[in-house]
Symmetry: C2
Subunit: 344 residues, 2 copies
DNA sequence: ATTGGCGCTCCACCACCGGGAGTGCTGGCA
DNA sequence: TGCCAGCACTCCCGGTGGTGGAGCGCCAAT
């Protein structure tokens, strides 16, 4: 008795494993008869029932009602993915195919194609947290659009381009704009905007009045551009979840789920957690602490550039998903994204 | 008899109008009794039934089954919006509030905030077709990211910024890059890429070999950047449609609808049609020719910059929508967008 | 320890039925 | 001629009850 409540003996583990696999495969509660057929063990349904009763007592499985088969509980899933699951990594050829699907023209395309790839491969929703930026800039440029309307172009340290229109009080000549850009580029490339602000006030008092005005407008715009291109999450293939009958039966739950998708910040918090850990991480059901996800699982993996974690990729699908397929997909996507971003 | 089949007399029109209004208001088939109460006419249900029978014969209304009230047919809706509907324009204050909600930092933000605004105000899905671009460029710039990796920054005639990374065969010095950019900016600003290509081959044979290589790489990249920022459609608030019980009852229809949203090109064709007409246009049910939309209506309006139509805004919702509210919202959004884009 | 057997429970499906809503029709009235 | 009260009819909707099947728990036998 004491032994059973602590650890599962081998037979129980095998039965739990096949039970979860069966349930994942066809979505029906699985009964003792089915289990005796598929387990490989040569046991009668009656014996299996005993084990199932134990498993139920320990909280790994549950029955929806008196006379149905059993289905895994969240705890059952957890044990399954932690210790019973065997994933087969993708082979070289598949990886190469995937690599070809990533669009490397710029960061935004790269990220959204990664997200799209995840959703296509898993038929669930793909999510990618955009790479964290360091905050500095590599290059800055002002372009006169009209009187008192200037286009600010900002190349971040990571090689992304931001742009925004700023209204000025006075109108500047193209030459002045070039001069201002030169000052910033030559003196401050690589610095954070805060730092620039400090140093401009300290060192460059000799700047002409109108110049500092332009500068501070630029810095404000730069700040804002940096902040609104802060971390964000790109989601693809939400539609796929409409087809999953586990989810689409509860219309209200489904709505909650889709509302969550619009609430980027909440999702971001969850996904950021996973960037602390290494490798693939799995959140089952409500483990993430969000009610809308209580029938979902989230499989995530951090990706990195130059060895530093800068974001997270992941898949959101029903708890009843084929983990052994999804896990390597998420894993490899994170790695492909890392390498695509690193060679810049 | 001949008369009834041609035009509706005043009484029939009034009854049709209140019937549609009632149905839009509470979604229940409306019977003769309800109609006699709400029409304002002092008629007994029995008399009303006669008129309803006529309306049914003419195809304006239909009954879901023998003993239910009547609901408008698509043709009934059409007649309603064409000749019975009275829209009340928004007042000045509301318009100003809305104007404040548009984010004018750059075109992309502008468009997506407009789309978001539409969905927020109507509680349906908002769509905006991004502005057509003229194809030329205003400014071009090369920035060296690494050996043989160059960041191409392209400012379109409309003041938007495109960027993309290009791989070169040889590595260029920063000075060479500046020179190349200067050549393009000084000689070809405002031209289309095709034109540039032609003229480069014709006039500038004296360019150094390596320069023309860089140039043609840039032109190819520019072409592609231009083409993948071609017309696109931004959709917001699809989630809202999950809450509409007219739509969410048929799970499969709902899925079709959401699939349509992912199929940008199909949607684009529909929305482009509306940019030919002037002012608000309404597609009811399958009028658009797309099955997924057969329980939906699409309300669109073109928007323009400098007097030329460059795109379309719209709302997609259930056919049973409050047109008198949605129409002015779409109208005003198109106008606000036009004016925000024009002052650049 | 394992197993066949038995009784039990619960769900899913179907058929049935009564109330309610709304219609079409008809005959009478101004 | 236009309007209206009354009536019979049709259909949907919700609740009720019965039945078959799947699966379990328990127990006695091996």
């Amino acid at each position: 008795m004491a032994k059973e409540s602590q650890a599962l003996n081998e037979r129980a583990q095998l039965l739990l494993k096949t039970l979860v696999e069966r349930y994942i495969a066809d979505g029906q509660p699985v009964g003792s008869r089915a289990l005796s057929k598929f387990s490989g063990l040569d046991l009668s349904p009656a014996s299996i029932r005993n084990v199932m009763a134990d498993l139920e007592e320990m909280g790994f499985i549950a029955s929806p009602h008196t006379s149905a088969g059993r289905i895994p509980t969240p705890r059952g899933y957890r044990f399954f993915v932690d210790t019973l699951l065997t994933v087969k990594p993708l082979d070289r050829i598949e990886i190469n195919q995937l690599e070809g699907q990533l669009q490397v023209e710029n960061t935004h395309k790269l990220v959204s194609s990664a997200s799209h790839m995840l959703s296509e491969l898993t038929h669930f929703a793909g999510v990618v947290v955009t790479p964290r930026r360091s905050g500095g800039f590599r290059h800055i440029e002002f372009l006169k659009l009209a009187e008192k309307r200037i286009l600010l172009i900002l190349v971040t340290a990571e090689g992304d381009v931001q742009n925004r229109i700023i209204q000025t009080e006075k109108s500047y000549t193209p030459a002045e704009l070039v001069e201002a850009a030169n000052i910033l580029n030559q003196n401050f490339a690589g610095c954070s905007f805060d730092e620039i602000r400090r140093r401009i006030h300290a060192e460059l008092k000799q700047l002409r009045e109108d110049m500092t005005q332009l500068m501070s407008a630029a810095l404000a715009a730069g700040d804002q551009a940096a902040s609104d291109s802060a971390e964000d999450v790109v989601i693809s293939g939400e539609v796929n979840l409409l087809g999953i009958d586990d989810l689409s039966s509860n219309m209200t739950k489904l709505r909650d789920l889709f509302n969550l998708f619009e609430h980027r910040t909440t999702l971001l918090q969850l996904l950021d957690v996973s960037s602390c850990a290494q490798g693939v991480q799995i959140f089952i059901g409500g483990e993430a602490g969000l009610q809308p996800l209580d029938e979902c699982s989230v499989v995530t993996a951090p990706y990195e550039v130059d060895g530093k974690v800068v974001g997270t990729v992941g898949v959101i699908g029903p708890t009843r998903m084929a983990y052994e397929r999804v896990i390597p997909i998420v894993d490899i996507t994170a790695k492909l994204l890392s390498s695509a971003l690193t060679q810049r």
